[in-house]
Subunit: 388 residues, 2 copies
């Protein structure tokens, strides 16, 4: 059954190899001073930075530079960004980068006009923004997080060894996002693959929960199949525009709230992965990959019908003459084979995790209750050890 829900997602998307030009249509809607948010400088090498700055200048904007957003944006960087926005009376936040830049921009947007410390307010107390929100726009250079069309924002606190996401509401979603698949093509292959696994796992997190018949699960399967199909083309040829455009579009719909409507969701792989990220600073998508198979093999018996459906519908497992357990295991074996083919991290060891870090990671793992099995701390430790 579809449970009761509301849905609104007003982010305007411009998609395609000519989409940057629409920045000209959007900029006049916002004020003069633009905080230009980007990461480690790759956008300067590939020309995207220059193109964006050119359009900002043509539109008479004053640019406030905010460079150096790291892959796992920190609370220290967030506080710096808030200060920058306040000092310059910034009217608009323009993120140019991957999900980290978009997440960071949203965190700044809800913090500039609030007195409280953003970490305490949003990531510890999970409060709603109660101050004026600075509008955000995104120019996406990596497909993965879906941050371009949702209210999510993950921030890392190294001191407290925590990496926590807050899903803000409609008002915090980007006003517009520009999605040019060509912008994703200069990424190193390992980053592309990490993004692809992030997308796939977003879908799994919403799929592997609940037992109702639900249109959302059909849509989830469609996105999974499209991602699997395109990923196999993209790992062979990262310059394949068709594959990269489908991955980018699937990424957006994998986490813009559509496929979670009317159903419960899991998100424990993300909780485990984010805890790994908090301790190791490893690439987000790879942390998810490293814990996924041990996690799914653990919960499979508790959600067997969905794992059987996953095997048949997503991986085309022929059920004839097999037990449900066999079918479900074959589905997870197909998932494992695909993960090895595209080249994600298959263990936490590959990400620098050692056995002595397990307890700290378990401490940093937030336990949610939407999945097929509600974990204890012991379960967390077991899955982490099995992932080493």
């Amino acid at each position: 059954m579809l449970g009761n829900f509301s849905y609104k997602n007003a982010t305007k998307l411009y998609f395609g190899d000519d989409s940057l030009k629409y920045l000209n249509d959007e900029l006049p809607k916002y004020g003069k001073t633009v905080q230009l948010i980007y990461g480690g400088g790759s956008v300067k090498k590939n020309g995207i930075y220059d193109a964006v700055v050119g359009i900002l200048k043509e539109n008479g904007k004053t640019i406030v530079e905010d460079a150096g957003v790291m892959p796992n944006p920190t609370v220290d960087k967030l506080r710096e960004g808030v200060r920058l926005a306040r000092e310059n009376n910034v009217d608009f936040l323009l993120a140019v980068g991957g999900g980290s830049c978009c997440d960071y921009a949203k965190a700044v947007s809800v913090s500039v006009n609030c007195d409280d410390d953003p970490w305490e307010k949003y990531y510890i107390r999970f409060e709603k923004p109660d101050c004026a929100i600075i509008p955000v726009g995104c120019i996406l250079t990596m497909a993965g997080t879906g941050s371009e069309m949702n209210g999510g924002s993950v921030i890392t606190n190294h001191e407290q060894k925590l990496k926590i996401g807050h899903v803000f509401g409609e008002d915090v979603m980007p006003k517009f996002s520009i999605l040019n698949p060509k912008f994703t093509m200069s990424l190193p292959k390992r980053q592309m693959v990490a993004g692809i696994y992030d997308v796939f796992n977003h879908i799994c997190e919403q799929y592997f929960s609940g037992e109702d018949d639900n249109t959302s699960d059909y849509l989830a399967e469609a996105l999974m199949k499209s991602v699997i199909h395109s990923s196999l083309i993209a790992v062979d040829n990262p310059q394949d525009y068709e594959a990269r455009s489908n991955i980018m579009w699937s990424a957006t719909w994998a986490l813009n709230t559509l496929i979670s409507r009317g159903k419960t969701t899991d998100w424990m792989v993300h909780m485990l992965g984010q805890a790994v990220g908090a301790i190791t600073d490893a690439t987000h998508g790879m942390t998810l990959a490293a814990v996924s198979l041990p996690y799914y093999r653990t919960i499979m018996p508790y959600g067997l019908p969905k794992f059987v459906r996953f095997a048949k519908e997503v991986w085309g497992v022929d059920p004839k003459g097999k037990t449900d357990e066999d079918i479900a295991n074959e589905g997870l074996a197909a998932l494992e084979k695909w993960m090895r083919t595209i080249g994600v991290a298959m263990s936490l060891g590959e990400l620098g995790v050692t056995e002595d870090m397990i307890e700290a990671i378990a401490d940093a793992t937030i336990i949610l209750d939407g999945g097929y099995k509600v974990f204890t701390r012991d379960d967390v430790v077991k899955v982490l050890k099995a992932s080493l």
Copy 2:
């Protein structure tokens, strides 16, 4: 390849068996005078009218009654609605009914402040609205058209024997829509089935076009599978909330622009069906059903790979040892079997069409060029005759 596109759909949806209460959240955002649009009075029998009027009064609204919107809203009714809105300085249009009421409300919304005749301006000259648009909200009582989350509006001109749709832009989409699956349960079964086929055909119209690999096609298949699955439950037990809720949700996503992003579309079944509707005033979904199989069997050789995919992915046709033509034909046979099972009209004869009406229907058929075969007038006549 995903072609370049933009996407924005800001309609807020409230979904579920308690969703009417959210009308209280929305009404304060709009002015005092509300034009209350509904159809033949079934909403008075099932209590929805009283519930809505109660909420309007609690919110201090002045109600302008606009009853009698017919299943195929006419240009005469539209002109009357525009006059009513002008005379009463209406601030908000609230449609309570199926797609006809929503379509009609949108047509009124773009016409109140324009001097031109709406039929000439929007349905003959296909102009964009260039005057202030009155905001629209919908309370849906029938699943089918998707009008609750798009800019579409179909109007019929009996004098000119034309039934024409105009897809308006983002600004004309409903500000909110309230979707309560229980509201659809008092519909006669034949209306439910007509709505289900309308939904399915919306998906087909967007699916059977183009040869690119495209995430949109995966999503289209997902929606088709969910509709087929739920329809078989709903025809057996129209009171099955789970099935009716999934049909309602699939209907919204079947025609809110998502599954057409980045690809070409066909829409010839709708052109044929609307022409039948213009001449006979038959139920929309049934006109589509009556012409569908002759149409798809005609275009199948020109889009064979997609029809093979349709057979395998949507209907589970086993391709082993079969030619592509065999597989495609088996898919269309499965479609036919499903149509007969749910009980749609299988011929134009059932809708009162006789051979002497064929030329007039062909005259009223607008020929589009997005499908696998661009039709001539002769092709139109042939398909109509084969549908008799």
